[in-house]
């Protein structure tokens, strides 16, 4: 009985995680410019990753494998947002402007659309 519940929970985690990963990847392709693409890539991937890893952990039970899966999750939890931050920072510093800014861009930033087209 307990085994069945754990199994079902694990499958639930795996399916939800897979769904989120695919949605995130879809967003990565469909979003209009670099800064909007950061959202599906960064946020959904982190949650999807953790859900899939949790699902795998439930399948593995109390073994060394679970410890390793937990460590993978923990390290990705730190490194994934850090690299997203680093890329966003690099893009901003290099002068890439958001395509759909709500604040009207300054005159020198008027060519934002043109820049994105390259």
């Amino acid at each position: 009985m307990i085994a069945l519940i754990v199994d079902a929970a694990s499958w639930g985690f795996l399916v939800t995680g897979s769904f989120l990963v695919v949605v995130g990847a879809l967003g990565l392709v469909r979003m209009p410019d670099f800064y909007t693409r950061l959202h599906p890539a960064g946020i959904t991937d982190t949650l999807g990753t953790d859900l899939i890893l949790t699902g795998l952990m439930l399948q593995a039970g109390f073994t060394l494998v679970t410890v390793k899966l937990f460590l993978i999750g923990a390290f990705l939890f730190f490194t994934s947002p850090t690299s997203t931050h680093a890329i966003a920072n690099a893009a901003l510093v290099a002068g890439l402007k958001p395509r759909y800014a709500t604040i009207p861009p300054r005159p020198e930033g008027a060519g934002a659309g043109k820049k994105d087209a390259r």
Binding site: V21, V22, D45
Partner: protein, 100 residues
């Protein structure tokens, strides 16, 4: 069930590759490469369960630890060595100023 997860991951990897090939800016490529890396970590994990020997997670663990170095290196060589010149685009003096 692992099969379904692996299939979903492969589909997500294809989508990330499309963004990687298409660009358009270098940052999009770095972002796609990074996201592709996370998916590979997961695929390696799921592949272990598919083949019934899940004790080879060390490789996934390695990627989880080290995959952000490439991103840091990109950030660094942009900002501190190259005077902030926007990539893939030459003759952009105002951006060079922003970089400093």
């Amino acid at each position: 069930m692992f099969t379904a997860t692996a299939a979903a991951l492969l589909a997500a990897m294809i989508l990330a590759l499309i963004r990687l090939y298409a660009g358009p800016s270098l940052y999009d490529r770095v972002l796609a490469a990074n996201s592709f890396g996370t998916k590979t970590v997961l695929l390696i994990g799921v592949m272990g369960f598919l083949t019934g020997r899940p004790d080879f997670l060390d490789i996934a663990l390695l990627y989880a630890l080290l995959n952000f170095i490439g991103t840091i290196a990109v950030l660094k060589f942009f900002r501190y060595r190259t005077l902030g010149d926007a990539l893939e685009q030459k003759n952009a003096p105002e951006k060079r100023e922003a970089g400093r």
